[in-house]
Assembly symmetry: C2
Homo-oligomer: 245 residues x 2
Protein backbone atom coordinates (compact mmCIF):
# COMPACT_ATOMS: atom_id res chain seq x y z
CA UNK A 1 0.00 0.00 0.00
CA UNK A 2 1.35 3.42 -0.95
CA UNK A 3 2.06 5.75 1.93
CA UNK A 4 -0.15 8.62 2.99
CA UNK A 5 1.43 12.01 2.33
CA UNK A 6 0.00 15.11 4.00
CA UNK A 7 0.25 18.86 3.67
CA UNK A 8 -0.64 21.86 5.78
CA UNK A 9 -1.51 25.23 4.25
CA UNK A 10 -0.90 28.59 5.95
CA UNK A 11 -2.64 31.59 4.39
CA UNK A 12 -1.02 34.75 5.74
CA UNK A 13 -2.64 38.17 5.68
CA UNK A 14 -4.84 40.58 7.60
CA UNK A 15 -6.81 41.20 4.40
CA UNK A 16 -8.11 37.59 4.45
CA UNK A 17 -9.29 37.89 8.06
CA UNK A 18 -10.91 41.28 7.50
CA UNK A 19 -13.00 39.95 4.62
CA UNK A 20 -11.44 42.41 2.19
CA UNK A 21 -9.90 39.62 0.13
CA UNK A 22 -11.58 36.31 -0.67
CA UNK A 23 -8.97 33.55 -0.51
CA UNK A 24 -8.80 31.25 -3.51
CA UNK A 25 -5.27 29.94 -2.94
CA UNK A 26 -6.33 27.06 -0.70
CA UNK A 27 -8.48 25.43 -3.35
CA UNK A 28 -5.80 26.04 -6.02
CA UNK A 29 -3.23 24.31 -3.83
CA UNK A 30 -5.67 21.46 -3.08
CA UNK A 31 -6.36 20.93 -6.78
CA UNK A 32 -2.62 20.95 -7.45
CA UNK A 33 -1.86 18.43 -4.68
CA UNK A 34 -4.63 15.89 -5.29
CA UNK A 35 -3.13 14.44 -8.53
CA UNK A 36 0.25 14.24 -6.76
CA UNK A 37 -1.24 12.09 -4.00
CA UNK A 38 -0.93 14.66 -1.22
CA UNK A 39 -3.84 15.31 1.15
CA UNK A 40 -4.29 18.62 2.97
CA UNK A 41 -4.80 17.95 6.67
CA UNK A 42 -5.44 21.49 7.87
CA UNK A 43 -5.32 25.09 6.71
CA UNK A 44 -4.94 28.20 8.82
CA UNK A 45 -5.60 31.80 8.01
CA UNK A 46 -3.43 33.97 10.20
CA UNK A 47 -2.64 37.66 10.67
CA UNK A 48 0.50 39.53 9.57
CA UNK A 49 2.18 38.89 12.91
CA UNK A 50 5.76 37.61 13.08
CA UNK A 51 5.30 35.46 16.20
CA UNK A 52 2.14 33.81 14.96
CA UNK A 53 3.69 33.11 11.54
CA UNK A 54 6.82 31.58 13.13
CA UNK A 55 4.92 29.40 15.55
CA UNK A 56 2.46 28.17 12.94
CA UNK A 57 5.21 27.34 10.44
CA UNK A 58 7.19 25.46 13.10
CA UNK A 59 4.14 23.51 14.23
CA UNK A 60 3.01 22.66 10.68
CA UNK A 61 6.54 21.72 9.57
CA UNK A 62 6.59 19.09 12.33
CA UNK A 63 3.07 17.80 11.73
CA UNK A 64 2.87 17.58 7.94
CA UNK A 65 5.07 16.20 5.17
CA UNK A 66 4.82 19.47 3.26
CA UNK A 67 3.78 22.98 4.21
CA UNK A 68 2.66 25.74 1.87
CA UNK A 69 2.51 29.38 2.89
CA UNK A 70 1.01 32.17 0.82
CA UNK A 71 1.39 35.90 1.34
CA UNK A 72 3.78 38.45 2.77
CA UNK A 73 6.86 38.14 0.55
CA UNK A 74 6.65 41.48 -1.29
CA UNK A 75 8.76 44.64 -0.91
CA UNK A 76 6.70 46.55 1.68
CA UNK A 77 6.96 46.89 5.45
CA UNK A 78 4.07 44.48 6.02
CA UNK A 79 5.91 41.69 4.19
CA UNK A 80 7.39 39.79 7.11
CA UNK A 81 7.02 36.18 6.04
CA UNK A 82 10.67 35.50 5.04
CA UNK A 83 12.02 36.76 8.36
CA UNK A 84 9.34 34.87 10.28
CA UNK A 85 10.27 31.61 8.54
CA UNK A 86 13.98 32.07 9.27
CA UNK A 87 13.00 32.69 12.87
CA UNK A 88 10.77 29.58 12.93
CA UNK A 89 13.77 27.40 12.07
CA UNK A 90 16.31 29.45 14.05
CA UNK A 91 18.38 30.11 10.94
CA UNK A 92 19.84 33.28 9.44
CA UNK A 93 18.48 35.34 6.57
CA UNK A 94 20.33 37.55 4.13
CA UNK A 95 20.26 39.00 0.64
CA UNK A 96 21.24 36.30 -1.81
CA UNK A 97 23.06 36.79 -5.09
CA UNK A 98 20.97 34.23 -7.01
CA UNK A 99 17.77 35.93 -5.87
CA UNK A 100 19.16 39.38 -6.77
CA UNK A 101 20.00 38.07 -10.24
CA UNK A 102 16.41 36.97 -10.69
CA UNK A 103 15.20 40.46 -9.73
CA UNK A 104 17.68 42.04 -12.17
CA UNK A 105 15.82 40.34 -15.01
CA UNK A 106 12.85 42.54 -14.25
CA UNK A 107 14.22 45.68 -12.66
CA UNK A 108 16.82 48.17 -13.85
CA UNK A 109 19.56 49.15 -11.40
CA UNK A 110 17.62 52.30 -10.62
CA UNK A 111 14.38 50.41 -10.00
CA UNK A 112 16.14 47.88 -7.79
CA UNK A 113 15.84 50.05 -4.69
CA UNK A 114 16.18 48.99 -1.06
CA UNK A 115 12.54 47.88 -0.88
CA UNK A 116 12.83 45.61 -3.92
CA UNK A 117 16.17 44.23 -2.71
CA UNK A 118 14.32 42.98 0.37
CA UNK A 119 12.69 40.45 -1.96
CA UNK A 120 16.15 38.91 -2.45
CA UNK A 121 16.43 38.17 1.28
CA UNK A 122 15.81 34.47 1.84
CA UNK A 123 16.50 32.17 4.79
CA UNK A 124 19.92 30.50 4.76
CA UNK A 125 19.98 27.33 2.68
CA UNK A 126 16.61 27.98 1.03
CA UNK A 127 16.05 26.90 -2.56
CA UNK A 128 14.38 29.52 -4.76
CA UNK A 129 10.99 28.98 -6.40
CA UNK A 130 10.50 30.45 -9.88
CA UNK A 131 7.95 33.22 -10.34
CA UNK A 132 6.99 33.41 -14.01
CA UNK A 133 4.64 36.37 -13.45
CA UNK A 134 6.67 39.04 -11.65
CA UNK A 135 10.09 37.35 -11.12
CA UNK A 136 10.45 37.98 -7.35
CA UNK A 137 11.07 34.41 -6.19
CA UNK A 138 9.43 32.23 -3.59
CA UNK A 139 11.62 29.83 -1.65
CA UNK A 140 11.69 26.41 -0.07
CA UNK A 141 13.09 25.96 3.46
CA UNK A 142 13.17 22.30 4.52
CA UNK A 143 9.62 21.05 3.85
CA UNK A 144 8.07 24.54 3.72
CA UNK A 145 7.23 26.20 0.38
CA UNK A 146 6.83 29.96 0.73
CA UNK A 147 4.83 31.54 -2.06
CA UNK A 148 3.24 34.86 -2.98
CA UNK A 149 -0.31 35.72 -1.98
CA UNK A 150 -1.44 37.09 -5.36
CA UNK A 151 -3.33 34.14 -6.91
CA UNK A 152 -1.81 34.44 -10.40
CA UNK A 153 1.71 34.47 -8.98
CA UNK A 154 0.99 31.69 -6.49
CA UNK A 155 -0.29 29.44 -9.28
CA UNK A 156 2.77 30.22 -11.37
CA UNK A 157 5.04 29.20 -8.49
CA UNK A 158 3.28 25.86 -8.05
CA UNK A 159 4.60 24.83 -11.45
CA UNK A 160 8.13 24.93 -10.04
CA UNK A 161 7.12 23.08 -6.88
CA UNK A 162 5.60 19.97 -8.45
CA UNK A 163 8.89 18.19 -9.16
CA UNK A 164 10.04 18.67 -5.55
CA UNK A 165 7.15 16.71 -4.11
CA UNK A 166 7.26 13.02 -3.44
CA UNK A 167 3.62 12.07 -3.57
CA UNK A 168 1.78 9.18 -2.00
CA UNK A 169 -1.45 7.27 -2.33
CA UNK A 170 -3.70 9.20 -4.69
CA UNK A 171 -7.22 10.07 -3.65
CA UNK A 172 -10.01 9.85 -6.20
CA UNK A 173 -13.53 11.09 -5.92
CA UNK A 174 -16.84 10.60 -7.66
CA UNK A 175 -19.96 12.63 -7.21
CA UNK A 176 -23.66 12.17 -7.86
CA UNK A 177 -26.10 15.06 -7.84
CA UNK A 178 -29.65 14.54 -6.66
CA UNK A 179 -31.98 17.43 -7.41
CA UNK A 180 -35.18 17.70 -5.42
CA UNK A 181 -34.04 15.17 -2.82
CA UNK A 182 -34.01 15.87 0.91
CA UNK A 183 -30.69 15.11 2.59
CA UNK A 184 -32.51 13.57 5.55
CA UNK A 185 -34.17 10.97 3.34
CA UNK A 186 -30.81 9.82 2.07
CA UNK A 187 -29.03 9.73 5.43
CA UNK A 188 -29.74 6.15 6.50
CA UNK A 189 -29.10 4.45 3.10
CA UNK A 190 -26.00 6.61 2.69
CA UNK A 191 -24.56 5.47 6.02
CA UNK A 192 -25.39 1.89 4.99
CA UNK A 193 -23.43 2.27 1.75
CA UNK A 194 -20.44 3.78 3.53
CA UNK A 195 -20.36 0.99 6.11
CA UNK A 196 -19.95 -1.57 3.29
CA UNK A 197 -16.72 -0.02 2.04
CA UNK A 198 -13.78 0.56 4.32
CA UNK A 199 -11.47 3.21 2.92
CA UNK A 200 -14.31 5.13 1.30
CA UNK A 201 -15.58 8.33 2.87
CA UNK A 202 -18.99 9.51 1.82
CA UNK A 203 -19.99 13.12 2.08
CA UNK A 204 -23.37 14.68 1.53
CA UNK A 205 -23.60 18.36 0.58
CA UNK A 206 -27.06 19.92 0.37
CA UNK A 207 -27.68 22.93 -1.84
CA UNK A 208 -30.43 25.52 -1.84
CA UNK A 209 -30.47 27.75 -4.90
CA UNK A 210 -33.68 29.76 -4.96
CA UNK A 211 -36.34 27.13 -5.55
CA UNK A 212 -33.94 24.32 -6.36
CA UNK A 213 -32.88 22.12 -3.49
CA UNK A 214 -30.92 18.94 -3.65
CA UNK A 215 -27.85 17.12 -2.49
CA UNK A 216 -24.44 16.36 -3.93
CA UNK A 217 -23.13 13.01 -2.79
CA UNK A 218 -19.35 12.74 -2.94
CA UNK A 219 -17.33 9.58 -2.33
CA UNK A 220 -13.57 9.75 -1.80
CA UNK A 221 -11.16 6.88 -1.68
CA UNK A 222 -7.94 5.45 -3.06
CA UNK A 223 -9.42 2.68 -5.22
CA UNK A 224 -11.20 3.82 -8.39
CA UNK A 225 -12.78 0.38 -9.01
CA UNK A 226 -14.46 0.49 -5.63
CA UNK A 227 -15.51 4.11 -6.16
CA UNK A 228 -17.20 3.09 -9.43
CA UNK A 229 -19.17 0.50 -7.48
CA UNK A 230 -20.13 3.14 -4.90
CA UNK A 231 -21.19 5.47 -7.70
CA UNK A 232 -23.58 2.86 -9.07
CA UNK A 233 -25.10 2.40 -5.61
CA UNK A 234 -25.49 6.15 -5.19
CA UNK A 235 -27.18 6.47 -8.58
CA UNK A 236 -29.54 3.65 -7.64
CA UNK A 237 -30.28 5.40 -4.33
CA UNK A 238 -31.03 8.68 -6.08
CA UNK A 239 -33.34 6.89 -8.51
CA UNK A 240 -35.27 5.27 -5.65
CA UNK A 241 -35.52 8.49 -3.65
CA UNK A 242 -36.72 10.40 -6.71
CA UNK A 243 -39.45 7.81 -7.27
CA UNK A 244 -40.67 8.41 -3.70
CA UNK A 245 -40.85 12.20 -4.00
CA UNK B 1 -11.02 53.73 24.84
CA UNK B 2 -13.41 51.01 23.80
CA UNK B 3 -12.22 47.47 24.38
CA UNK B 4 -10.89 45.16 21.69
CA UNK B 5 -13.23 42.25 20.97
CA UNK B 6 -11.94 39.24 19.03
CA UNK B 7 -13.37 36.24 17.25
CA UNK B 8 -12.04 32.94 15.92
CA UNK B 9 -13.62 31.16 12.96
CA UNK B 10 -13.57 27.37 12.48
CA UNK B 11 -14.58 26.14 9.03
CA UNK B 12 -15.32 22.42 9.26
CA UNK B 13 -15.37 20.04 6.30
CA UNK B 14 -13.25 17.70 4.19
CA UNK B 15 -14.74 19.32 1.07
CA UNK B 16 -12.99 22.62 1.88
CA UNK B 17 -9.60 20.92 2.28
CA UNK B 18 -10.01 18.83 -0.86
CA UNK B 19 -10.67 21.91 -2.97
CA UNK B 20 -14.11 20.64 -3.99
CA UNK B 21 -15.83 23.55 -2.26
CA UNK B 22 -14.59 27.13 -2.25
CA UNK B 23 -15.23 28.63 1.18
CA UNK B 24 -17.02 31.97 1.23
CA UNK B 25 -18.24 31.82 4.83
CA UNK B 26 -15.13 33.39 6.35
CA UNK B 27 -15.50 36.62 4.41
CA UNK B 28 -19.26 36.71 5.10
CA UNK B 29 -18.58 36.37 8.82
CA UNK B 30 -15.83 39.02 8.65
CA UNK B 31 -18.15 41.47 6.89
CA UNK B 32 -20.83 40.76 9.49
CA UNK B 33 -18.46 41.28 12.43
CA UNK B 34 -16.66 44.44 11.31
CA UNK B 35 -19.61 46.82 11.88
CA UNK B 36 -20.15 45.19 15.29
CA UNK B 37 -16.60 46.02 16.32
CA UNK B 38 -15.31 42.44 16.41
CA UNK B 39 -11.97 41.53 14.80
CA UNK B 40 -11.21 38.02 13.57
CA UNK B 41 -7.88 36.89 15.00
CA UNK B 42 -7.56 33.54 13.25
CA UNK B 43 -9.48 31.11 11.10
CA UNK B 44 -8.92 27.38 10.71
CA UNK B 45 -10.13 24.99 8.10
CA UNK B 46 -10.28 21.51 9.59
CA UNK B 47 -11.37 18.02 8.56
CA UNK B 48 -14.52 16.18 9.62
CA UNK B 49 -12.75 14.60 12.58
CA UNK B 50 -14.35 14.60 16.04
CA UNK B 51 -11.10 14.98 18.02
CA UNK B 52 -9.78 17.80 15.88
CA UNK B 53 -13.11 19.65 16.04
CA UNK B 54 -13.30 19.28 19.85
CA UNK B 55 -9.75 20.42 20.45
CA UNK B 56 -9.99 23.38 18.09
CA UNK B 57 -13.28 24.55 19.62
CA UNK B 58 -11.89 24.26 23.15
CA UNK B 59 -8.71 26.14 22.21
CA UNK B 60 -10.58 28.90 20.32
CA UNK B 61 -13.22 29.28 23.05
CA UNK B 62 -10.42 30.07 25.52
CA UNK B 63 -8.49 32.39 23.19
CA UNK B 64 -11.23 34.50 21.61
CA UNK B 65 -14.26 36.39 22.86
CA UNK B 66 -16.48 34.70 20.28
CA UNK B 67 -16.10 31.60 18.14
CA UNK B 68 -18.00 30.78 14.98
CA UNK B 69 -18.11 27.31 13.47
CA UNK B 70 -19.58 26.42 10.10
CA UNK B 71 -20.41 22.98 8.77
CA UNK B 72 -21.36 19.52 9.95
CA UNK B 73 -24.79 20.03 11.55
CA UNK B 74 -26.96 18.21 8.99
CA UNK B 75 -28.74 14.85 9.22
CA UNK B 76 -26.08 12.54 7.75
CA UNK B 77 -23.41 10.33 9.31
CA UNK B 78 -20.64 12.85 8.50
CA UNK B 79 -22.39 15.55 10.55
CA UNK B 80 -20.47 15.29 13.81
CA UNK B 81 -20.11 18.91 14.87
CA UNK B 82 -22.80 18.98 17.60
CA UNK B 83 -21.36 15.93 19.37
CA UNK B 84 -17.83 17.27 19.02
CA UNK B 85 -18.81 20.57 20.63
CA UNK B 86 -20.53 18.83 23.56
CA UNK B 87 -17.35 16.82 23.97
CA UNK B 88 -15.19 19.97 23.79
CA UNK B 89 -16.99 21.36 26.83
CA UNK B 90 -17.48 18.03 28.59
CA UNK B 91 -21.27 18.43 28.59
CA UNK B 92 -24.10 16.14 27.53
CA UNK B 93 -26.08 16.23 24.31
CA UNK B 94 -29.62 15.10 23.67
CA UNK B 95 -32.67 15.63 21.48
CA UNK B 96 -34.39 18.82 22.57
CA UNK B 97 -38.10 19.52 22.40
CA UNK B 98 -37.69 23.15 21.28
CA UNK B 99 -35.41 22.05 18.44
CA UNK B 100 -37.84 19.27 17.44
CA UNK B 101 -40.66 21.81 17.33
CA UNK B 102 -38.64 23.93 14.93
CA UNK B 103 -38.13 20.91 12.66
CA UNK B 104 -41.87 20.12 12.80
CA UNK B 105 -42.53 23.43 11.07
CA UNK B 106 -40.82 22.05 7.99
CA UNK B 107 -41.24 18.31 8.15
CA UNK B 108 -44.34 16.10 8.44
CA UNK B 109 -44.29 13.34 11.07
CA UNK B 110 -43.42 10.89 8.32
CA UNK B 111 -40.55 13.01 7.02
CA UNK B 112 -39.19 13.55 10.52
CA UNK B 113 -37.22 10.30 10.47
CA UNK B 114 -34.32 9.30 12.73
CA UNK B 115 -31.78 11.13 10.54
CA UNK B 116 -33.66 14.42 10.64
CA UNK B 117 -34.31 14.05 14.38
CA UNK B 118 -30.52 14.08 14.82
CA UNK B 119 -30.69 17.76 13.86
CA UNK B 120 -32.66 18.35 17.09
CA UNK B 121 -29.75 17.05 19.20
CA UNK B 122 -27.96 20.00 20.78
CA UNK B 123 -25.45 20.28 23.63
CA UNK B 124 -27.02 20.74 27.10
CA UNK B 125 -27.81 24.37 27.84
CA UNK B 126 -27.30 25.54 24.26
CA UNK B 127 -29.45 28.38 22.92
CA UNK B 128 -30.89 27.74 19.45
CA UNK B 129 -30.04 29.92 16.43
CA UNK B 130 -32.85 30.54 13.92
CA UNK B 131 -32.47 29.16 10.41
CA UNK B 132 -34.79 31.07 8.07
CA UNK B 133 -33.81 28.97 5.04
CA UNK B 134 -34.31 25.33 6.03
CA UNK B 135 -35.42 25.56 9.71
CA UNK B 136 -32.90 23.08 11.20
CA UNK B 137 -31.40 25.28 13.91
CA UNK B 138 -27.85 26.23 14.78
CA UNK B 139 -26.99 26.70 18.42
CA UNK B 140 -24.89 28.73 20.82
CA UNK B 141 -22.85 27.00 23.54
CA UNK B 142 -21.10 29.49 25.83
CA UNK B 143 -19.22 31.81 23.44
CA UNK B 144 -19.38 29.41 20.49
CA UNK B 145 -21.90 29.90 17.67
CA UNK B 146 -22.42 26.72 15.64
CA UNK B 147 -23.83 27.33 12.20
CA UNK B 148 -24.52 25.47 8.96
CA UNK B 149 -21.93 25.23 6.20
CA UNK B 150 -24.25 26.06 3.29
CA UNK B 151 -23.57 29.78 2.67
CA UNK B 152 -27.21 30.85 2.27
CA UNK B 153 -28.16 29.15 5.54
CA UNK B 154 -25.07 30.42 7.35
CA UNK B 155 -25.88 34.00 6.36
CA UNK B 156 -29.48 33.54 7.47
CA UNK B 157 -28.28 32.36 10.89
CA UNK B 158 -26.02 35.40 11.38
CA UNK B 159 -29.14 37.57 11.52
CA UNK B 160 -30.12 35.82 14.76
CA UNK B 161 -26.58 36.08 16.17
CA UNK B 162 -26.07 39.85 15.90
CA UNK B 163 -28.07 40.77 19.01
CA UNK B 164 -26.08 38.29 21.12
CA UNK B 165 -22.77 39.98 20.47
CA UNK B 166 -21.32 42.68 22.64
CA UNK B 167 -19.04 44.51 20.25
CA UNK B 168 -15.99 46.64 20.89
CA UNK B 169 -13.87 49.24 19.20
CA UNK B 170 -14.90 49.43 15.57
CA UNK B 171 -12.32 49.14 12.84
CA UNK B 172 -12.59 51.33 9.77
CA UNK B 173 -10.67 51.11 6.54
CA UNK B 174 -9.98 53.27 3.54
CA UNK B 175 -8.37 52.21 0.29
CA UNK B 176 -6.60 53.91 -2.59
CA UNK B 177 -5.96 52.16 -5.88
CA UNK B 178 -2.85 52.97 -7.89
CA UNK B 179 -2.86 51.56 -11.41
CA UNK B 180 0.46 51.24 -13.19
CA UNK B 181 2.47 51.74 -10.01
CA UNK B 182 5.11 49.29 -8.81
CA UNK B 183 4.70 48.20 -5.20
CA UNK B 184 8.46 48.51 -4.66
CA UNK B 185 8.42 52.20 -5.55
CA UNK B 186 5.80 52.87 -2.91
CA UNK B 187 7.39 50.82 -0.13
CA UNK B 188 9.59 53.43 1.52
CA UNK B 189 7.09 56.34 1.48
CA UNK B 190 4.39 53.91 2.62
CA UNK B 191 6.42 52.84 5.65
CA UNK B 192 7.09 56.53 6.36
CA UNK B 193 3.36 57.28 6.37
CA UNK B 194 2.60 54.36 8.67
CA UNK B 195 5.29 55.38 11.14
CA UNK B 196 3.58 58.76 11.56
CA UNK B 197 0.34 57.23 12.79
CA UNK B 198 0.22 54.83 15.70
CA UNK B 199 -2.92 52.73 15.60
CA UNK B 200 -3.07 52.69 11.81
CA UNK B 201 -1.98 49.61 9.89
CA UNK B 202 -1.14 50.09 6.25
CA UNK B 203 -1.34 47.20 3.81
CA UNK B 204 -0.24 47.11 0.22
CA UNK B 205 -1.82 44.60 -2.17
CA UNK B 206 -0.41 44.35 -5.68
CA UNK B 207 -2.57 43.13 -8.54
CA UNK B 208 -1.67 41.72 -11.94
CA UNK B 209 -4.62 41.42 -14.32
CA UNK B 210 -3.34 40.64 -17.81
CA UNK B 211 -1.54 43.83 -18.80
CA UNK B 212 -2.79 45.89 -15.89
CA UNK B 213 -0.60 46.01 -12.84
CA UNK B 214 -1.00 48.18 -9.81
CA UNK B 215 -1.40 48.28 -6.06
CA UNK B 216 -4.25 48.71 -3.65
CA UNK B 217 -3.23 50.55 -0.51
CA UNK B 218 -5.46 49.85 2.46
CA UNK B 219 -5.31 51.61 5.82
CA UNK B 220 -7.13 50.19 8.84
CA UNK B 221 -7.65 51.87 12.16
CA UNK B 222 -10.18 52.85 14.78
CA UNK B 223 -10.25 56.61 14.14
CA UNK B 224 -11.95 57.73 10.92
CA UNK B 225 -10.58 61.28 11.16
CA UNK B 226 -7.03 59.98 11.17
CA UNK B 227 -7.83 57.55 8.35
CA UNK B 228 -9.08 60.44 6.24
CA UNK B 229 -5.75 62.15 6.79
CA UNK B 230 -3.92 58.97 5.79
CA UNK B 231 -6.09 58.71 2.71
CA UNK B 232 -5.05 62.18 1.58
CA UNK B 233 -1.39 61.26 2.03
CA UNK B 234 -1.85 58.05 0.06
CA UNK B 235 -3.57 59.92 -2.77
CA UNK B 236 -0.72 62.42 -2.83
CA UNK B 237 1.78 59.55 -2.90
CA UNK B 238 -0.02 57.90 -5.82
CA UNK B 239 -0.07 61.21 -7.69
CA UNK B 240 3.68 61.64 -7.23
CA UNK B 241 4.49 58.07 -8.19
CA UNK B 242 2.32 58.34 -11.30
CA UNK B 243 4.15 61.50 -12.34
CA UNK B 244 7.44 59.57 -12.16
CA UNK B 245 6.28 56.65 -14.28
Amino acid sequence: MTKIVTAGVILIGDELLSGRTQDTNLSSIAKFLTPLGVTIGEARIIADNANIISQTVKDFSDRFDYVFTTGGIGPTHDDITADSIASAFGIGISEREDALNVLRKRYSDEELNAARRRMARVPDGAVLIDNPVSQAPGFQTKNVFTMAGVPQIMKGMLADVAHRIEGGAKTFSISVTASGIGEGDAAAPLAAIESQYSGVSLGSYPFFNDDLRGVNFVARGRDMVILDEVKEKLEKLVFELSANE
